[in-house]
Structure formats: structure tokens, C-alpha cells
């Protein structure tokens, strides 16, 4: 039977496609490439820290590498990874629709992404920049490195993010199949809805900040220059108004994947559908009220710092609601231990660990000690890698049969999952101890007393990298030699499992009508 991959096979049919599945797949390839580049830079950084002094590169190169690592991982991988790839691919199918609301706009997002990535790449080849991914002035107005292409590239990329969010919101509002109300949508779609709202609201503010930084750096307008009445802390307000919600752009889709994977492998209804759906919006909203916790020692007023500290704790409440609901769903389920579920377990452990340290650093008095140390680095890597990356891997394995029509090797999958988990712990747990001991982030040299912990962290990064490389190898292998996947290999109840693997061009042979709720495991499939 013909499917979306074999319907047309010319290169032009890919370049000019408006099929959301092909667009999702292209985003998947592009973001995976970004992950490889960003990951390689991370390995290089860890290698440099193998010794307290010079190992493989000088201090200036080190500054440029950590900046590019941050820029690529945040904007080119983490933010589009789930929404633009899996979101584009699966949201319309889960809603029973034939495509997204604006297919041509959807294609444009791919090209906008490519243009933005190319410009950053040019800046990277032309010398890179050394401000860190946060672009703080006054240094960002003065650095002589290639800052402008990076600012411009990220600015352009922002449009891709906004338009993806816009498209998904309109799709969810207008293209649900007959009989599907908002409360019959799969939880992944709820998460994509929440994240799209954040993308649409927060990303333009980043665009403005980057524009103002460009004017400061390129034309010397001095918006944030204290000599001309400017205030550098104002930059941080604007920047973190975007960049804190951006954390939820990265982690909410991850939570959406988890919310869908757990019921499928526990063969059990979610403990509370509404608790997960509503807490998504709780996180999305509260996420906008907490940006100041990045600025406790920046010179912000103590009044504001106190308010931001308290508000930040609220995120913990909504996250805890989700975690308890997930664990409650697993409890007494008939659990089938497959690779995606291994990643879910890793997610649960790492997310709770990272979240709890987040509560700790949101406490103003403690944060004064930990600001800009490896403690914070470890905290946000627990959330961004420990939570978002593992959930991305869980979703990847969960939907791999649907996207490619092939099954991957289960034993290798589990082995890679275990390696990723252990490697991650070995990489980032020592960084908590380093930070608490006083090791500042973004420092090239460090005292010898930190040496053993740095070595441990670097060794862990090799294990983590090995796990990912193994995943890359067996997944690529399965595309050509893997056994053919049935339409519903895991026994899932959401609509994407009712169509063929891989799906036909218009997703369904006949437009589906909703007979069964998305997680109705009390009855057999179709019953």
C-alpha cells in the first residue's frame, strides 16, 4: 500500500511538500543534526575540562565553544525538537485531521529554520562568538567576535517557532474530527496546545531583545549602556521574560510525550486526565511569572526578588501533580517493559531530581551561593537533558514504528537507554558537588581540588555519548533491515494507531469518528 513516504519520491516532492508528516520528518532530521553538532561541542567542552589547564583548546576557543553549544542546543534542538517534529507529525493525526490548518505556512517554517541555522553556521565558521547563549550586555555590545550572525540567525529562527505554534493552535481549534471535544483530545495534544501558546506569546519578546542587542552591538545605540542612561538589568528582564518560559517550551512537550507513553505501556487509563491537562496550563501560566529567579544577584530590587522567589515555587506544585498522576497511572497497571518506558523511568527520576534542585535554587538566600556555579549548570541540564532529551528519546522510540514503518531492536534499545541514564548521572551529578564546592560556570581554569570530579564528569559524558551513538546506529539499521511494523505495535488507543504504519498521505482512508476515548483501556481496541 502506498504511504506518505512512497506516494511521491522525487526530491522536488520533498522540497515543495505541504504534507505535515513530511515536514515533521524534515524537522526531525534537522533537529537531530543540530543535536549531533551541539553534542559534539559538549564532548569537546568536557574533554577540555579533563585537566585543570590547557587540554585541547585555548580560553578564547573555550568561550566560543560553550556559547555555540548553548545556542545550538537551546534554539536549534530543544525548542523545535518535539513541537516541530513530533508535534507537526502527530497532532493532526491524533485529531483525526488530514493536515494542519495552514500547510504552506508549515512548509515555510522549515525554510525559515534552515535559513536561521545557515546564518548561525556562517557565524560559527567565521569565528564564533563568546558571550554565552544569554548575550548579556554590556559585554555583548563590546565583543569583537562574530556576534551579529548569531543574533540574526536566532532572530530568524524565532519566526519558525512562532509560526509552528500559530499553526498548531489553529489546527487544534478547527480541525478536530467529529465527536472530539477538547476533553477527548490526547494529552500530548494538550501539551502541544500549552506549548504553542507559550511560543506565540514569549518568542516575540526574544525577537525584540535580539533586535535591540543587534542595534546596541552593530549601531551602538546604547539601549543598555549605563553611560547613556541605560540599565543592563532591564536587558535581563526582557531576556528572561522569554527564556524562562522557553524552559517550559522545552519541558512541556516532553511531559506530553510522557503522558501518552505511560498509559500505552501500563495498559491503563491515566489516573486523572483532567489533572494532567489542567496542570499543563498551570505550568504554562505560572512559567511567565517567575523569570526574575535568574536575576537574584543581578542588582534587581530585593522586593522583586522576594516575589519572584515565591512565585517560582508554584511551578513545583503543578509539576508534582503531573508526576503523581504518572506514577499513579503506572501503579497496578499491566506494565510491558519496552524501550520507551525505560526512558520514561529515566525521565521521572531525573525530572524529580532536577525539579527539586530547582526549588532549592529558587530560594533567594541559597541562590546567592549557587548563582553562576556548576550547581546551576547541573540543575538545568537535569531538566533540559535529563527530562527533555530522555522524553524526546522516549517519543522517538514510541513513534518510530509509526514514522518509518519499521521496528527497531528492543535489546539494543534497552541497552542504549540504560547507558544514557547512567552516563547522564555520571556526567551531571558530580557537577552538583562541583558547584556547591564553589566551581564557577564558564571558567576555563579550575583549582586542582576540583580535578577528580571534573574527570568523573568527563568520563560520564563518554558513556552518555556512547548510548546515543548506539541508538543512532540501531535506529538507522532498522530503517533498512528492521522487521515491518504493524499498525499498532504497542496496543495504543490514540488515533495515530488506528491508521497504517507508515500512514497514507491523507492520514486516514476514511475520516475517523471517535468511538472510544483516547485512553479507554477498560474495553478492548475498537470495542
Amino acid at each position: 500500500m502506498r504511504n506518505y513516504l512512497t506516494e511521491e519520491t522525487t526530491i522536488w516532492s520533498w522540497l515543495a511538500t505541504t504534507d505535515h508528516k513530511r515536514i515533521g520528518l524534515m524537522f526531525f532530521v534537522l533537529t537531530s543534526l543540530s543535536l549531533m553538532v551541539g553534542g559534539a561541542l559538549a564532548m569537546v567542552l568536557r574533554l577540555e575540562h579533563l585537566t585543570p589547564n590547557y587540554t585541547i583548546m585555548g580560553p578564547q576557543a573555550y568561550n566560543q565553544v560553550f556559547t555555540l553549544h548553548g545556542v545550538i542546543m537551546v534554539w536549534f534542538f530543544l525548542i523545535p525538537s518535539i513541537p516541530a517534529a513530533f508535534g507537526n507529525f502527530f497532532v493532526p493525526i491524533m485529531l483525526g485531521a488530514r493536515d494542519v490548518a495552514f500547510p504552506r505556512l508549515n512548509l515555510a517554517t522549515v525554510y525559515i529554520y534552515i535559513v536561521g541555522a545557515l546564518i548561525v553556521f556562517i557565524g560559527m565558521v567565521a569565528g564564533g562568538t563568546d558571550t554565552g547563549w544569554t548575550f548579556y550586555p554590556p559585554y555583548s555590545s563590546q565583543t569583537y567576535t562574530m556576534l551579529l550572525p548569531v543574533l540574526l540567525g536566532v532572530f530568524i529562527l524565532g519566526f519558525s517557532t512562532i509560526l509552528t505554534g500559530l499553526n498548531l493552535i489553529v489546527t487544534i481549534h478547527t480541525l478536530r474530527t467529529k465527536g472530539m471535544g477538547f476533553m477527548q483530545m490526547p494529552l500530548f495534544v494538550w501539551a502541544m496546545y500549552g506549548v504553542s501558546v507559550i511560543q506565540v506569546i514569549a518568542t516575540p519578546v526574544l525577537g525584540m531583545v535580539l533586535l535591540l542587542t543587534t542595534l546596541d552591538h552593530g549601531l551602538d545605540w546604547g539601549f543598555f549602556d549605563p553611560a547613556r542612561g541605560g540599565d543592563v538589568v532591564l536587558f535581563q528582564h526582557l531576556f528572561w521574560f522569554y527564556s524562562h518560559p522557553a524552559v517550559y517550551i522545552m519541558v512541556l512537550p516532553a511531559m506530553g510525550v510522557i503522558s501518552d507513553v505511560i498509559p500505552t505501556f501500563a495498559h491503563k487509563n491515566p489516573l486523572s486526565y483532567k489533572a494532567i491537562a489542567y496542570s499543563t496550563f498551570g505550568i504554562a501560566f505560572v512559567g511567565f511569572l517567575t523569570w526574575g529567579h535568574h536575576m537574584f544577584v543581578s542588582g534587581m530590587s530585593t522586593f522583586s526578588a522576594g516575589i519572584f522567589g515565591v512565585l517560582s515555587m508554584f511551578v513545583g506544585i503543578f509539576s508534582a501533580i503531573k508526576v503523581f498522576t504518572w506514577v499513579g497511572t503506572l501503579y497496578k497497571g499491566s506494565v510491558s517493559l519496552k524501550t520507551p518506558l525505560f526512558y520514561v523511568f529515566a525521565f521521572l527520576f531525573l525530572f524529580v531530581f532536577g525539579g527539586m534542585t530547582g526549588i532549592a535554587v529558587a530560594t533567594v538566600s541559597l541562590d546567592v551561593h549557587w548563582t553562576d556555579t556548576y550547581f546551576v549548570v547541573a540543575h538545568f541540564h537535569f531538566i533540559m537533558v535529563g527530562a527533555s532529551l530522555t522524553a524526546w528519546l522516549a517519543g522517538l522510540h514510541y513513534w518510530w514504528p509509526k514514522m518509518t514503518g519499521r521496528m527497531y531492536s528492543e535489546p539494543w534499545g534497552i541497552a542504549a537507554a540504560v547507558l544514557v541514564f547512567l552516563g547522564f548521572i555520571a556526567t551531571f551529578f558530580p557537577q552538583f558537588l562541583l558547584g556547591n564546592g564553589g566551581m564557577p560556570r564558564r571558567y576555563y581554569y579550575y583549582p586542582e581540588k576540583f580535578w577528580p570530579l571534573h574527570v568523573m564528569s568527563t568520563a560520564g559524558s563518554w558513556v552518555l555519548g556512547l548510548g546515543l551513538v548506539i541508538a543512532l546506529i540501531y535506529l538507522s539499521w532498522s530503517i533498512f533491515y528492521g522487521p515491518k511494523a504493524p499498525p499498532n505495535p504497542w496496543g495504543g488507543r490514540t488515533l495515530e494507531w488506528t491508521t497504517a504504519s507508515p500512514p497514507p498521505t491523507h492520514n486516514f482512508e476514511v475520516s475517523p469518528t471517535l468511538g472510544q476515548g483516547p485512553y479507554d483501556y477498560s474495553r478492548p481496541i475498537g470495542g
Binding site: 519578546v205 540599565d231 538589568v233 528582564h237 534587581m300 522583586s304 564553589g438 586542582e448
Partner: protein, 140 residues
């Protein structure tokens, strides 16, 4: 094929007249010294004009719930960022987080205006010096 129903054109003209009246009001008021009330009054008039434009000219009164929600939510986020950022500068200490300069012998204490949060010196000259960080720092 369905067509949207037109409404009376007089509606838009009437709304336009009200907006112009408010425009003149705002202009006249700008010549009166109102001190601290000037800004809120001008913004409230602009807000009323905005509501008129949004509700009638942008046809929110014909729109679905989802569009109306959006028209309410987006401005709230503007207010959020503007107010919180402005409240930071409004409540900031005159010289925030400034560590008093180390005193030169005989000059007698830090200058009056330099103080830390809540007027308490953060690292006064009387406090003992911090111990040096252990370990060796290689030369750059």
C-alpha cells in the same frame, strides 16, 4: 457557500465619532497640569479607544469565544511584563548590591550614600578578610 452577514454601516461611523471625541479630550487634557494623574488618565483614554476599536472595528462582537479570549489574554501579558519590570526599578535601592569601597587609611569609613540592601553595609571594612581560595590557580 455561506456569506457573513453585513451590519449597519452607521455603527462604525458612530464608533468612529466617539473615538475622535476621545482623541480631542486626550489632546485637551494634555495641556492641563495634572501631576501624577496625567499618565493613568491618558492611558485609560487610550484603553477605552482600544476597546472600541477592538470590539467594533475588529468585530470582536461577531467573533467566537476563542478569538475573544485571545484579545483579552495577549494584553495581560503586556501589562505583566511592563508592570513587573517597572516595579523593579521603582523599588530598587539607590545603589543596589554595591559593596562599600575599601577605605584608604585615615579617610574614615565608607561614604554616606553607599549602602547595601536595607541600608546595612554588606561587607564592611570591619569584617575579616575572606580566606583565599584553596588550590593553585595556574597563570593564564
Amino acid at each position: 457557500m455561506s456569506t457573513e452577514e453585513p451590519v449597519s454601516s452607521w455603527l462604525f461611523l458612530k464608533v468612529g465619532l466617539v473615538i475622535y471625541a476621545l482623541l480631542i479630550l486626550s489632546f485637551v487634557l494634555s495641556y492641563i497640569e495634572m501631576g501624577r494623574w496625567a499618565t493613568p488618565i491618558a492611558l485609560v483614554i487610550a484603553g477605552v479607544q482600544t476597546v472600541l476599536v477592538a470590539y467594533f472595528s475588529m468585530e470582536l462582537f461577531l467573533s467566537r469565544f476563542s478569538v475573544r479570549m485571545l484579545a483579552i489574554i495577549a494584553p495581560l501579558f503586556v501589562i505583566l511584563l511592563v508592570c513587573i519590570a517597572a516595579s523593579d526599578i521603582a523599588t530598587r535601592d539607590p545603589e543596589p548590591m554595591l559593596v562599600p569601597l575599601p577605605t584608604v587609611e585615615g579617610s574614615g569609613g565608607p561614604p554616606e550614600r553607599i549602602r547595601g540592601t536595607h541600608g546595612v553595609p554588606m561587607l564592611g571594612p570591619t569584617e575579616p578578610a575572606r580566606p583565599a581560595i584553596e588550590g593553585t590557580l595556574p597563570p593564564p
